[in-house]
Each structure stands twice: as structure tokens, then as C-alpha cells.
């Protein structure tokens, strides 16, 4: 980001011009600017070093820099090691349970008799994993998700903003929303098959239904939780109604909108898999269900793991977009830490 870089350049010459900065605030930006400060300090040291006959200044500088580097690395790695270790423990425990359960064919109410071993699933992955059939199923599921999700976003966000802002729009839409919302997307399967001309459209519709309500409701909530003083401030500064939406209400609701998108994406996957299992041809859900019908147990687990990874990737992408689009949240009180 170019603007951030220029901030670092500007801060330094001004620092002595404003010695009366409030300490709380002065400390925070100072902390934020440490890389710049270090860079400046070292370059400053270099200038001084070239003018004064200090013996071997390079060594001193490198030593302190490496020190800083190692300290930083040590701190980062210690935090990272703990995080990674705990992640390994949590996933490892699951695999261990699975492995032991299948190895000894445990039978204590839950039955591991027919559950494939991790190795069988791994073999399945190497055989089926790169087959055309498997990849096509994934691609079709992803396409359905993208269509359903983006249509839900394109309708849910603007409608949510309008409902949140205008009492009359709210009065008009909320009754129907309240009636439709409790109906799970899966319950729409028969109706959807009747409504839409082909299978593909009906599955996309079910995915859309799943994603739509979380997005809509979170957007409405975002508008409502927006501090009224910001709207008043914007109007005082001459914002038109359209500008108010674009420059205040939309960015102000964005954190909640992203919550809605993340939840909506999760529900979209749930709905999609269910729809594919019931009415589908193709898709990861269909792949999993077909494996069950064909008594191909390792493929069931492969399908499940695939669904898990796809869901993880999708919510990861949304979270990443959120971080990129809302850089200010890094500084918000109680925000990202």
C-alpha cells in the first residue's frame, strides 16, 4: 500500500515538531512505525559513522541488527511453534482416534466395522484423487457455490442496506423474510425441482437460499449497529442520500456484512451438499452419496474430507478479502489482535 509507506516517511521529520503529543496516542503510532524507525535509525547511524572516526562501525551496526532480528525471530517462532503444535495435536488426535478405531475395529455402541482405515482413504485419494471424474465433481460443486453465493450476495447486501435504512422498505420486506427464513434450504429441494427448468438451476437456487438469509440479516444488523452520529456527521458535511449509502452506510456495515458472507458461505455448502445428495447428478455431495450406494466406503471419507477442505478454502478466501478490504479493523478496539 503506497499510502502506508508515505506515512512512515512523513512521521519522522514531524516527530520533533510536535513534542506535545498525547502520550497514549504517541506511543501507539510509535510502536506501529518501528520498522521505519529502525530503518531511519540505522541510516542515521550510517551517516554519523561516515563522519566520525569510530573504529569499525559496521560491526556494531550489524551486531545490533542481527540481535533485533534474532529476538524478533525467537518471539515469532515461539508463538508460531505453540500454535502449530496445538494445531497438530488437535488434528492428530482426530486421526489417532480414527486410526485406532479402524485398526482394532472398535465396537462400543458406535461401530468401526465398516469404516475404512486412513490408509485405505489415502489409497483412494491416489487412485481416484486425480481422476477426471473426481475433479469434475469438485469443479461442478464449486461452480454451483459461486453462482448461488454471488447471487445471494448481489441481492442480499443491497436489499439489506435498504431494509436497514428505510422503515418503509423494512415494513414491506421483513414480513416475507420472517416467514421464509425458518424454512431450511433442504426443505426447498422438492419445490425447487418443480420450480426450475433443470437440475442445475434448482441446485444453484438451493445454494442461494442457504446463503441469502445470513447475508441479508447480517447486513441489516450492520446498518442498525452503525453509530447514528456518523450519519449525522456525513449529512452535515453535505452528503447526498446516494453518497450516504456509498460512503458511510456501506463501509460502516462492512464488518457485519463480512460476518454474513462467512456464515452464508458455510450454510451454502451445507445446502449444496444436501441438495446434491438428494437430487444431484455430479458434485461432491453426489460423489459421496454415490460412493455409499456403491458400497465404496473409502470414497465416502474422501468425499467428506474434500467437502471439508473446500469449505475451509471458501471461508478462508472470504476472511482474506475481509482483511484486505477493512484494514482499519486492525486498530479497532476489541478488533483483530
Amino acid at each position: 500500500m503506497g499510502s502506508l509507506a508515505s506515512a512512515k516517511i512523513v512521521v519522522l521529520p514531524m516527530a520533533d515538531k510536535h513534542p506535545d503529543l498525547e502520550p497514549a496516542a504517541a506511543a501507539k503510532p510509535a510502536a506501529a512505525e518501528t520498522p521505519a524507525a529502525q530503518a531511519a535509525a540505522s541510516s542515521h547511524a550510517a551517516v554519523v559513522a561516515s563522519e566520525l572516526p569510530v573504529p569499525d562501525p559496521e560491526v556494531i551496526r550489524t551486531a545490533s541488527l542481527t540481535q533485533v532480528f534474532w529476538n524478533l525471530l525467537a518471539r515469532i517462532t515461539r508463538e508460531r511453534i505453540i500454535t502449530v503444535a496445538l494445531a497438530c495435536i488437535s488434528i492428530g488426535a482426530l486421526f489417532l482416534f480414527w486410526y485406532l478405531g479402524t485398526k482394532y475395529r472398535l465396537e462400543f455402541y458406535i461401530r468401526f466395522k465398516n469404516v475404512p482405515t486412513p490408509y485405505e482413504v489415502y489409497q483412494q485419494l491416489t487412485q481416484v484423487g486425480l481422476s477426471n471424474k473426481y475433479l469434475v465433481n469438485i469443479a461442478i460443486s464449486v461452480r454451483r457455490i459461486l453462482f448461488g453465493f454471488f447471487i445471494a450476495m448481489a441481492i442480499g447486501v443491497p436489499l439489506g442496506l435498504a431494509i436497514g435504512k428505510y422503515q418503509r422498505v423494512r415494513d414491506l420486506f421483513m414480513p416475507v423474510v420472517e416467514i421464509m427464513r425458518p424454512i431450511p434450504a433442504i426443505a426447498w429441494v422438492p419445490m425447487s425441482i418443480m420450480l426450475w427448468p433443470n437440475n442445475e438451476a434448482s441446485i444453484v437456487f438451493i445454494t442461494f437460499i442457504g446463503a441469502f438469509f445470513p447475508i441479508l440479516l447480517n447486513t441489516i444488523h450492520g446498518v442498525h449497529s452503525l453509530d447514528g452520529v456518523l450519519i449525522r456527521a456525513a449529512r452535515c458535511l453535505g452528503a447526498s442520500e446516494f453518497r450516504l449509502f456509498l460512503n458511510v452506510i456501506l463501509p460502516g456495515s462492512l464488518p457485519h456484512i463480512f460476518t454474513g458472507l462467512a456464515v452464508g458461505m458455510g450454510v451454502a455448502w451445507v445446502s449444496l451438499i444436501a441438495a446434491e445428495m438428494i437430487s444431484g447428478q455430479f458434485g461432491v455431495g453426489y460423489f459421496t452419496w454415490e460412493a455409499y450406494s456403491l458400497v465404496d466406503y473409502p470414497a465416502i471419507v474422501l468425499g467428506m474430507i474434500t467437502i471439508g477442505f473446500l469449505g475451509l478454502a471458501c471461508s478462508g478466501i472470504i476472511r482474506m478479502c475481509g482483511v484486505l478490504l477493512m484494514p482499519w479493523l486492525a486498530f479497532a478496539p476489541g478488533g483483530r489482535r
Binding site: 506515512a7 512523513v10 510536535h18 496516542a25 503510532p29 456518523l230 452535515c236 458535511l237 453535505g238 460502516g252
Partner: protein, 292 residues
């Protein structure tokens, strides 16, 4: 950097509030917030409105800002009735009202952007104003990275960016600690000295109102009426040392007397009759039955 946007048309920015009354609710729940208030702010004048909490001073400011309409009377700016908010009146709020998603500079630029001013010009103006507020080095920070005093300084220059004719300030330093407050008052007088626009300043702090203003209106407790109008003859520019002069002290005493009566009146009538010495727990609850 020179201030290019100072108010050269010194004859503009005349606020005239005439026979204003504000009533909230209807019938049984009717509350008269403001009753028969007339006041004015001459072009380029700094006027404070002071009174006990709940006396309707913020309501008055909301009307002048255009956020609400009075039940009776009218508010005029340069002879024209005020009906809605607009960039001819800059407003500084008590709560921090910076847009958290915009950098400090973009916040200051906001009004100019709404007015369709091109980017390079916006940038120059915003930087000049930030320099004036002593915050140019923070132009690319986000508001959440700044202290309360800094946020309010930015709020002030943001309101000035569109070159309004008047500045309306609703207890802008109310949320700040005492030390920061005093510094902010000095900064505000300096900024005002450069712009010379009309200011209507709401506060409940007596010293603050004297230090800043040319004239002070004292309001009564609810229903809010104008109780007194006091001129502040202290010379400009105001300095922090002036608060120790006898003139300043006398004004403080005079205002304290006026306000104290109203603050007492604003509380429950029993307290007013008894005086503050009448406070104190008489008898505690005897048993659980008495509590529920």
C-alpha cells in the same frame, strides 16, 4: 502553509434563533424542552450556550444544525430558514464522529469529496488543515489509532474543510480529561482566530465558556429559557494565563451563581428545598420484604 479558506466575507454567518419552543411527546408525556428562546450569533462571533444538563441546549444546536425542527419559532442563517443539514454549517459532536474506515486525511477530505472537489485540491486543503491542527504526521493513520484529543481536533478541522459560515460545537471536549481539555481550548481559540467564523458552542463548563467566548447565554433548567446574557470583555487572543486574572475570576463567580441555581432546580424539587446538606441515607431497608 497559509490558510486559503479563511472567512473573508466577515458579514456572513449570522445565526438568528427567534421565539423557539420545542416540545417532545404529546398529551400526558409532553415535555417542554425549550421554551421561548431567542438568541443570535453575530458574524465572526464566538458565542457559548451554557446551562445544566437536560436544559435543551443540545436540542437547540440540533435545530440550528438542521437535524430536527422546532415546535414553535424558527432558526435562521443569514436570513434564511434552516430546514436541513448542510455544509454551510460545520458541526463538531461530543462523541467522536470520525469515520473509522477512512484515514485521518480522508476524513478531513470527506466534505470536499461530497462537494465534488477534485482529489488534488482536496488533498492540499486537508493537509493544510491537518498542519493547523498539528496532526499532519498522522494523516495516514486511522482514527482508532489516535487519542480522544486528537480525534476531536480532527473533527474540528474536518468541519472547517468545507469553509462553512458557522461552526456548531456540541460539548466537543466533554469526553476529554481536564488537561487535554485545557490544551484543546487553546488550540480551538487559535484555529478560530485564523478563520474568524461564527461559532455556537455548547458546554456546561463555566471556565471553558469564558475562555473561549465573546458572549455567553446562560440557560435555565428544563424548560430551557435564556436566563442571562453575559459579555466577555477579555482581550483577544486569549492566553491560558488569563484564567488567573481578576476579571476572569469575577466572571466565573458570576456565572457560577447563575448556574448553581439552575443546577439545583434541575434536580428533584425536594433537594432544592432542603439544600444539598439534606443528603444522606436516612434508614436502610429493614428486610427483604421491603426491597421486593
Amino acid at each position: 502553509m497559509t490558510m486559503v479558506m479563511a472567512n473573508t466575507e466577515i458579514h456572513k454567518g449570522f445565526i438568528d434563533v427567534r421565539d423557539m419552543g420545542v416540545v417532545f411527546g404529546a398529551n400526558d408525556s409532553k415535555v417542554v424542552a425549550v421554551d421561548n428562546v431567542s438568541l443570535n450569533v453575530q458574524p465572526g462571533e464566538f458565542v457559548s450556550l451554557i446551562g445544566p444538563s437536560g436544559c435543551g441546549k443540545s436540542t437547540l444546536l440540533s435545530i440550528v444544525a438542521g437535524f430536527m425542527k422546532p415546535t414553535r419559532g424558527e432558526a435562521l442563517l443569514d436570513g434564511k430558514a434552516i430546514t436541513k443539514p448542510g455544509s454551510d454549517r460545520g458541526v463538531v459532536f461530543q462523541q467522536y464522529s470520525l469515520f473509522p474506515w477512512l484515514s485521518v486525511r480522508k476524513n478531513v477530505e470527506f466534505g470536499l469529496k461530497m462537494a465534488g472537489v477534485e482529489q488534488s485540491k482536496r488533498n492540499t486543503t486537508a493537509r493544510a488543515l491537518l498542519d493547523l491542527a498539528g496532526l499532519l504526521s498522522f494523516e495516514n493513520h486511522y482514527p482508532d489509532q489516535l487519542s480522544g484529543g486528537m480525534k476531536q481536533r480532527i473533527g474540528i478541522v474536518r468541519a472547517l474543510a468545507t469553509s462553512p459560515q458557522v461552526l456548531l460545537m456540541d460539548e466537543p471536549f466533554g469526553a476529554l480529561d481536564t488537561q487535554t481539555r485545557v490544551v484543546m481550548q487553546e488550540i480551538l481559540t487559535n484555529i478560530w482566530q485564523q478563520f474568524r467564523i461564527s461559532v455556537l458552542f455548547i458546554t456546561h463548563d463555566i471556565e471553558e465558556s469564558i475562555f473561549l467566548s465573546d458572549r455567553i447565554y446562560v440557560m435555565t433548567a428544563r424548560p430551557g429559557r435564556i436566563k442571562a446574557e453575559i459579555k466577555v470583555p477579555l482581550p483577544r487572543p486569549r492566553r491560558a494565563e488569563m484564567t488567573d486574572t481578576p476579571e476572569f475570576m469575577n466572571l466565573v463567580q458570576e456565572l457560577k451563581g447563575l448556574i448553581r441555581e439552575e443546577s439545583l432546580a434541575a434536580m428533584a424539587p425536594e433537594i432544592k428545598d432542603r439544600g444539598l446538606s439534606g443528603f444522606g441515607m436516612k434508614v436502610g431497608p429493614k428486610g427483604v420484604g421491603e426491597i421486593f
